[in-house]
């Protein structure tokens, strides 16, 4: 191996070691455990595919999958659309100072710990003292139970996720918008394009890599969401907000069924991998400035 290759290998080695220890080893361990009925501190028995059959035929598991998908569908498009709108708005600011101040405000929730954000929103959603009910009271609307309602719990949690993630996505879009050369808009203007046409035919196609990336990141974040659900509803009421990761956590660490939990972990991993690859394949466009 020549010197340059060796240097390259040394540069990537820390990341490679980290990846192996934190991701690869647990992944392999999960695959192995999914075939064993294991008792921590005790013996493990090989059970073949029995745990796969058990988990995948359990209605509780599919209800959790359904809740997770609903949460993803409520959160991801809203976050991406709102972040794009916010970035477009911020991009129009002429004053750099105001743009920076507003960007920082958008970004602030992202820097808050998820548990803290969940607790803040728990107070906002409180049916008795909550700010939100107080607010809708001004409009003459009746108070809602939000997190304690079977129908509203998932939209309420989706709103928390949107609030938390909006700033991060906005920053990415804003950076991408700033990288689009102004000449494209000038040329479009000379050709008589309206603003909406410029958005549709210049901005959005050039933002495609960022839109795809942000959508994938949001999909992964929302599919794996745990902290906010755990801190606010613990999967309730009546399992209406129990996500796959919540169920996985309970299965592993409350019921101590590590084999069953490993099957769920693999399901999450493979689902995300599949959807991400599909998204990448279907929506990714090559962009050159």
């Amino acid at each position: 191996m020549d010197r340059q290759r060796r240097a390259g290998l040394l540069f990537v080695l820390p990341a490679l070691v980290y990846f192996c220890l934190v991701f690869l080893v647990p992944l392999i361990q999960s695959i192995v455990w999914s075939f064993y009925r294991s008792v921590p501190g005790g013996t493990s028995t090989f059970v073949g595919l029995r745990l796969y059959h058990k988990v995948l035929s359990d209605p509780t598991f599919w209800q959790a999958v359904g809740n997770t998908v609903t949460l993803v569908l409520l959160s991801v498009p809203a976050t991406v659309a709102l972040a794009l709108a916010a970035a477009l708005g911020l991009h129009r600011f002429r004053s750099l100072r105001w743009r920076s101040a507003c960007t920082a405000m958008y970004f602030l929730p992202f820097s808050v710990s998820l548990v803290a954000a969940a607790l803040i929103w728990q107070w906002i959603y409180d049916p008795v003292y909550g700010f939100l009910n107080h607010l809708i009271g001004f409009a003459g609307l009746p108070p809602r139970k939000w997190l304690q309602s079977l129908e509203l719990v998932l939209p309420s949690l989706a709103l928390v996720n949107v609030w938390v993630r909006l700033g991060f996505d906005t920053i990415i879009f804003l950076a991408a918008l700033q990288a689009i050369p102004g000449e494209y808009y000038e040329a479009a203007g000379i050709d008589g394009a309206s603003r909406s046409q410029m958005l549709r035919h210049v901005t959005l196609p050039l933002l495609n890599p960022q839109i795809v990336m942000v959508s994938i990141l949001e999909l992964i974040f929302n599919f794996k969401v745990f902290d906010t659900v755990y801190a606010t509803t613990q999967g309730g009421p009546a399992s209406a907000s129990q996500t796959v990761i919540m169920l996985l956590y309970d299965t592993a660490f409350k019921y101590f069924r590590l084999g069953d939990a490993s099957v769920m972990a693999l399901f999450v991993f493979l689902s995300l991998l599949l959807v991400t690859l599909l998204q990448w394949r279907l929506f990714r466009r090559q962009v050159e400035y």
Partner: protein, 421 residues
């Protein structure tokens, strides 16, 4: 250059000497993990007595308080990993010694001491398959009825004559509930647990089930169908859900039961013996009294889902010292001092008639509850999973997702699958 090298050499030699010269004898540590974060004085007691223990045995005690939320994961990781695991830890015997094999069996003489000095209903706490592993640490870990005396008076009820039966209790709850113009309660009679993990929901519902003569599992803990969905259980759950949906004497809009009681939004709560300390600290303006739970077909009695004990880790290199420490504090005086410091009930039978216990507001109610028949116990290794399946049905009914019978049938079938698995 040579001078510099000499100085470095001298520094290295000095450091080496410092490292090799024997210092004063070092005290070793017993690491104690607990998740009773609400009882800091109780936990501190181990460290205080640990200092005295160190003088005799050379081991101090270091208490690590692990947050209750998710404590199982942290315990499990440490106990499986062995390194970084505690010498002593707090937990439920049927989980850590039954479902798992993490516990050291208690020395026979110490086990005898505990067996002889526990209240009758607690003797099984800390045991797995007849052998004692754990030291029970919480007496009064069963629900009692806390009432807001002022709210009772305001509703025309006598706080010194609490409801004794479920019928009387329901009538009182109706009087204590205030509805707004839209028919929604602004004040409720009963602070009902409707949030959080289903295990907690089950725990709070079981006294009603037991008062109806129902039980969650068969006596041998091997079957749920016929028990979790028995006619008595269905009737109990119907009564429980009627409190919310029909009579509106309990509300799903209210916060946790403790907060609702502390904020004077609920007049009655069923809680364990530690709760009066909580009220005094967090809602000192609430005047309350404590009574035994009302009875139905039978009385709910002193039972619980969470029999907390102190356990010794079987792979601990210090397990002998850990047992010595346990022996060191296994006496009536330490039992009283430790529990009194936190304001909770002591465990030793002899202390149940101490001046401290007699001065507590729950003295009479505790005695009355202990006189009632011991309710069913569910100390099964899969109790968390079973209680979750059951609690999911309970919470589904109170949220109006279905009728008690089909939901309990489903829960019982699921519980049987868990038991067979």
């Amino acid at each position: 250059m040579r001078r510099g090298a000499l100085m470095i050499l001298a520094a290295v030699l000095s450091a080496a000497m410092l490292l090799t010269v024997p210092g004063p004898a070092q005290t070793k540590k017993l690491v104690f993990w607990t998740h009773w974060e609400q009882n800091p004085e109780f936990n501190k007691f181990y460290e205080t007595r640990g200092k005295e223990f160190a003088q005799k045995h050379g081991y101090e005690v270091e208490v690590v308080t692990v947050p209750y939320q998710g404590y199982e994961a942290k315990y499990l990781a440490a106990l499986v990993g062995k390194s970084g695991a505690p010498d002593i830890f707090m937990g439920m015997t049927h989980h850590w010694c039954g479902q798992y094999d993490f516990c050291d069996k208690m020395p026979a003489d110490l086990a005898k001491t505990w067996d002889e000095n526990l209240p009758k209903y607690m003797v099984s706490v800390g045991k797995w398959k007849g052998a004692r592993y754990g030291i029970p640490i919480e007496h009064g870990n069963f629900q009692q009825m806390y009432i807001n005396a002022d709210m009772f008076k305001k509703a025309g009820l006598n706080p010194d004559q609490p409801p004794k039966t479920l019928d009387e209790w329901l009538a009182a709850m109706k009087k204590l509930t205030i509805l707004d113009a839209k028919g929604e309660p602004t004040q409720v009679g009963f602070a009902l647990r409707h949030k959080g993990h289903p295990v907690g929901i089950t725990d709070k519902f079981l006294p009603f089930a037991h008062a109806y003569g129902a039980r969650m599992l068969s006596p041998d803990l091997e079957k749920a169908t016929g028990f979790a969905n028995s006619p008595e259980m269905v009737a109990a759950l119907q009564f429980y859900s009627d409190l919310v949906l029909k009579y509106k004497v309990a509300s799903l809009s209210f916060p946790t039961p403790e907060d609702a009681f502390g904020q004077k939004r609920a007049a009655v709560i069923f809680r364990e013996s530690w709760f009066f300390g909580w009220v005094r600290k967090n809602a000192p303006e609430v005047t309350f009294k404590v009574y035994a739970l009302p009875c139905g077909k039978t009385c709910p009695g002193a039972g619980n889902l969470f029999p907390w004990t102190n356990l010794v880790y079987k792979n601990s290199p210090n397990k002998q010292a850990a047992w010595e420490f346990m022996r060191f504090i296994s006496n009536p005086k330490d039992d009283l001092d430790q529990h009194q410091a936190q304001g909770i009930l002591p465990v030793w039978t002899v202390n149940l008639e101490s001046a401290y216990v007699k001065s507590r507001p729950d003295y009479n109610s505790t005695r009355e509850m202990l006189r009632q028949p011991v309710p069913p116990e569910y100390y099964h290794p899969k109790s968390n999973e079973l209680a979750t399946a059951f609690g999911e049905a309970v919470v589904a009914v109170i949220y109006g997702k279905g009728e008690p019978k089909p939901l309990l049938d489903g829960a019982a079938a699921k519980m049987d699958r868990i038991l067979k698995d």
